[in-house]
């Protein structure tokens, strides 16, 4: 992996409060080593309460309702909450990126940005932030857990966790990998239309695609099981987009799996509070601080 985390962490820069933000939150900008600037909303909470970093789902932004409601609720309870948006290769990205858009980003870049924000928190006295990821946003969290072995995190809470290739099935995933590899061999800078996650027309380069496809369920399970910090998985038993068997299987491997009865993938409606309860419980139970 070509990312120099130390260099990147040195480049982070808290810019300023800028633009309209939610009540109690601050608009944060972080200049990345790639030259791009990432943005986040930050609620500085009580010093004795855990710090929570919440990452949105695949191609979404921090304005996605599930993560924003969760962040605001935790902030209301005194948690310090950082809610960033991955740049996905776009400077100061504020819009969700369509599947059909040209995707130049990769899993490594996503993890680098996440890592940069963790470092940013740690640089501000928040030594062990709990990282929360929603849906496929849990994959970079898991990758970060895999990357950070110095127990820099207080824990991880993965909500409605899904992995890349889940929709395609294993056989199709393999064919996609094979194709990507072939494309990479033939024209590594070329753009191609692939299938990734919920995107049926996902335009990207083969290397970028493979960076995501690498994080299949085995690699993801291995990373979670190997995590040195508490990891809690929360899912709704009414979520058709997740592999519940796979998740339940993770429970047996030291990962806490919590099911919310009746909740769907986005924990909308009344399950918003269930989610909050579960996250709060996960943070507390995990000994985060």
């Amino acid at each position: 992996m070509a990312v120099n985390l130390r260099t990147m962490s040195l480049l982070w820069l808290l810019v300023a409060l800028a633009g309209p933000v939610q009540a109690g939150s601050a608009h944060m900008s972080l200049e990345l080593a790639s030259g791009l600037t990432a943005e986040a909303d930050y609620w500085p909470g009580q010093s004795d309460r855990p710090v929570v970093l919440i990452l949105h789902g695949f191609l979404q932004t921090r304005d996605f309702p599930t993560v924003r409601r969760l962040a605001e609720s935790l902030a209301d309870e005194g948690y310090s909450v950082l809610l960033p948006s991955l740049t996905l290769g776009l400077d100061r990205r504020r819009q969700g990126l369509a599947c059909e858009a040209i995707h130049t980003h990769s899993m490594q870049q996503d993890v680098d940005e996440l890592h940069a924000w963790v470092d940013w928190l740690r640089g501000h006295g928040r030594k062990r932030p709990v990282v929360v990821g929603h849906s496929a946003g849990g994959v970079p969290v898991a990758a970060l857990l895999d990357r950070l072995t110095d127990v820099a995190l207080g824990g991880a809470v993965l909500i409605s966790l899904s992995y890349f290739g889940e929709e395609q099935g294993q056989a199709q995933l393999e064919r996609l990998r094979a194709r990507a590899r072939a494309d990479l061999a033939g024209n590594p800078d070329g753009l191609n239309r692939y299938t990734l996650s919920f995107c049926r027309d996902y335009v990207t380069g083969p290397a970028q695609l493979l960076s995501y496809l690498d994080w299949d369920r085995e690699m993801l399970a291995r990373a979670l099981r190997a995590a040195t910090v508490p990891v809690t998985l929360i899912y709704g038993d009414d979520d058709p987009r997740i592999d519940r068997d796979w998740l339940d299987g993770l429970d047996a491997g030291g990962v806490v799996v919590r099911r919310v009865s009746g909740a769907a993938h986005f924990f909308d409606l009344a399950h918003e509070f269930d989610l909050l309860d579960e996250v709060r419980a996960a943070i507390a139970g995990g000994g985060h601080g």
Partner: protein, 755 residues
């Protein structure tokens, strides 16, 4: 007189009315259509303005939408991604840009430019300029291609708040189609929207708004209303026109025809008044008003006939009243004049004799005054009845004056006429008027004149001749029935001569030619002259008009008072002139009207200075006295008290009522010659003598008139008369110089006898 201008007939008015109604309908229709066209033109103009505003608004909206689309496009992070990493721009532009849904479908093409205004990649298929100015130009329209397109540019700003310009985006929009379907046009037919050709290949959007052309949307509702209104006006005009044209014959049939019938009927009535009835006028469609007119006309006609009959009767009554004397039933003077006027025509060529008889009641005025008008009227009725009873069939009696009656006897000679008149006289004389309270015998005088019918001049003088004859008959001593002859005409010349009339009038009014003759009244014992009776004559052109011709004219003209005043003045003049011997007296005759005049005492007062040298005696006749005897007595009493003597003249010629004599203030009674002559008659002498003696014993002086010889003188003396008057003592003369006469001294007088 110009003929009165006639108006139009009712048919003419009907035609005029129909024409006017049709003209009014046509005018109203034309006016309505004109108004509708005007309103529609105004609506079209308003619609044109609204349509222009509608198109302009639509273009503004389109431009705003395009600008907003450009803004959204510029704000799209993928655009900024392409500016920052243009490596995959051709791919993105080809497969992502237009397919993303960010750009509206009316965007033909879009281009992304760098911060320097250069397109990220120069592509052959781009229809946008390769370079644009920075900052980007405002939107403009490209007219170079077949379809005009709108080019809109927006700057692409960086993320964050620094808003640095990262590039430019441009859109080419085929705006015509979206302009047409961008909204539901109310006024504009969207398919008609197009733009006028321009010399320039580009136009600003505002210039394009001026070049837009369109047609108005047809308004089905307006067209329907227009058609409906036009149709309604046309149908209404046709219906009203037909109705009016149908109304005309109906009007003629229902109104004009009956009115013409009424008019014709009225014309027929002018020619045949009465008896015509107007039949049914309106046939099977009776009009109440015309039927009412017909009924009223017939009723009026009936009433008119009744009125006409009544008027005829009344007219006959009026004619009868106008031609008959209401008192006597005889025809009146109007009928007499009409009869005389029509007599020549009525008689035609018949050669027959015509006799005119004129009857007059003697002393009728005295009867009227003595017994009252009621008795007088009864007397006249009896006289008319008596005369009528004598007349032959076809002969009519006319009352032509108060007591004057006339009869025209046709086919009658003089002897027959005389017999008829005498018979009339006999009938009247033989009637017992005592039943009416009239004690005196009643007489009539009749004057007759005859002529041949073929002698018109003779016929026209008949009445005059009869007047002359009647006047003669009235004179004392003549027969009561007198037939006219030429000698009567000569004797009556004074009465009927115009020059005599003129002379009398001049004498009475101006005193011209008036001459007084004085006849002595003598004391029969001593021969002294007591008075000279003043007798009036008129000298005219050397001729003398005698009293017998003067008095009829005076009485006819009612000049009694004027004559008496002229006589008074003349006698006074004579007294002044010494024509009357002093120591004697004058006796003046006064008429009845003078006696009752309220100034008579003043007039006679002029004699008072002479009363010391003259005796002045006023002679009145009993006829004059009995007319308003009270007033006459009052005046006579005053005169008597002032020294005048009062004498009753011609006593015995009339009624000789002793009752009157007893009640009158009379000093002297002058016996009429008829009574004096009666002294010569053995039968009458005794009565006259006793009458004279009775009056003498009552304190009156007596004067015997008409003493012409010594025998009469002696008889008078024997009867007790103290005074006498007559030719024996002296004839009337202009000068009265004697104070004593001898009875054989007779003064010559130019006329026969005046007294």
């Amino acid at each position: 007189m110009a003929e009165r201008r006639r108006g139009l007939t009712i048919g003419g008015y009907a035609v005029v009315m129909v024409v006017l109604v049709l003209m009014a309908i046509a005018s109203y229709g034309a006016f309505t259509v004109s108004e509708f066209q005007r309103i529609r033109a105004e609506m079209d103009a308003a619609s044109q303005q609204a349509a222009a505003a509608e198109v302009g608004e639509a273009m503004d909206v389109l431009l705003r939408d395009a600008d907003e689309a450009a803004g959204r496009f510029a704000a799209w992070e993928e655009v900024r991604q392409q500016i920052e990493h243009p490596r995959y721009y051709p791919y993105w532009r080809s497969y992502r840009m237009l397919e993303s849904g960010v750009l509206p479908d009316y965007v033909i093409d879009a281009e992304v430019y760098g911060a320097d205004g250069t397109a990220l990649t120069e592509l052959e298929d781009s229809v946008l300029p390769h370079r644009v100015a920075t900052p980007p130009p405002p939107a403009y329209v490209d007219l170079s291609s077949e379809q005009p397109t709108l080019l809109v540019f927006r700057s692409v700003l960086g993320p964050g708040d620094d808003a640095d310009v990262r590039g430019v985006v441009g859109l080419r929009i085929a705006f015509t189609a979206p302009l047409k379907r961008s909204r539901s046009y109310v006024y504009v037919d969207p398919d008609s929207i197009h733009f006028a050709a321009s010399d320039s290949s580009t136009l600003s959007w505002s210039d394009l708004k001026s070049a837009v052309r369109f047609e108005l949307r047809r308004n089905p509702m307006s067209d329907a209303v227009s058609g409906l209104l036009s149709g309604t006006v046309a149908n209404l005009s046709i219906v009203l026109g037909i109705f009016t044209l149908l109304l005309f014959p109906a009007l003629v049939f229902l109104i004009v025809r009956p009115l013409r019938a009424i008019s014709t009927h009225i014309d027929r009535l002018k020619d045949s008044p009465g008896g015509l009835v107007l039949g049914d006028l309106a046939g099977i469609l009776p009009i109440a008003e015309t039927e009412k007119i017909r009924e009223s006309l017939n009723a009026y006609q009936g009433q008119l006939v009744d009125v006409h009959s009544t008027l005829e009767e009344k007219s006959q009554e009026l004619w009868a009243m106008a031609h008959h004397d209401a008192l006597t039933g005889a025809k009146n003077r109007r009928a007499f004049e009409e009869f005389m006027h029509s007599l020549p025509q009525a008689l035609g060529d018949r050669d027959i004799g015509v006799c005119f008889a004129l009857f007059d009641v003697n002393h009728f005025k005295a009867i009227n005054d003595s017994y009252g008008h009621s008795v007088g009227d009864q007397v006249l009725k009896v006289i008319a009845s008596r005369i009528s009873s004598v007349l032959r069939k076809g002969e009519e009696l006319f009352r032509i004056g108060g007591d004057e009656f006339a009869v025209v006897l046709l086919d009658c000679d003089e002897s027959s006429a005389l017999r008829i008149a005498e018979r009339c006289h006999e009938k009247i004389v033989g009637h017992d008027f005592g039943k009416l309270g009239v004690r005196e015998p009643l007489r009539i005088s009749a004057g007759l004149a005859n002529a041949r019918i073929d002698d018109l001049d003779d016929l026209q003088t008949l009445q005059w001749k009869a007047d002359v004859a009647m006047y003669r008959a009235k004179r004392p001593g003549h027969a009561n029935v007198v037939m006219f002859n030429e000698s009567l005409a000569r004797d009556s010349e004074g009465l009927f001569s115009s020059w005599v009339n003129t002379a009398v009038y001049d004498a009475v009014v101006y005193g011209k030619g008036l001459v007084m003759y004085y006849q002595p009244i003598v004391d029969l014992t001593e021969g002294t002259v007591c008075h000279y009776e003043a007798l009036v004559c008129i000298e005219q052109d050397g001729e003398i008009i005698q009293p017998s011709n003067i008095f009829p004219v005076v009485e006819a003209r009612r000049l009694e008072v004027e004559l008496d005043r002229a006589v008074i003045r003349k006698v006074l003049d004579d007294l002044k002139a010494g024509k009357v011997r002093s120591g004697t007296g004058v006796s003046i005759n006064l008429s009845g009207p003078t006696l009752i005049h309220d100034q008579v005492c003043a007039w006679l007062g002029a004699f008072e200075p002479y009363l010391k040298d003259f005796r002045v005696m006023i002679e009145v006749t009993e006829t004059a006295l009995i007319t308003q005897i009270g007033l006459a007595n009052d005046n006579l009493s005053r005169l008597r008290a002032r020294g005048f003597d009062i004498a009753l003249d011609d006593f015995g010629s009339g009624y000789s009522s002793v009752r009157y004599l007893a009640s009158m203030p009379v000093d002297v009674v002058k016996f009429d010659i008829t009574l004096v002559q009666g002294l010569q008659d053995v039968g009458q002498a005794n009565m006259v003598t006793h009458l004279a003696r009775m009056i003498l014993e009552s304190g009156h002086h007596l004067v015997a008139e008409g003493i012409e010889d010594l025998d009469m003188l002696e008889s008078a003396r024997a009867a007790g008369f103290g005074r006498g008057q007559g030719y024996l003592m002296g004839r009337p003369a202009e000068h009265a110089k004697l104070d004593r006469v001898t009875f054989d001294n007779v003064t010559q007088f130019p006329s026969d006898r005046l007294a």
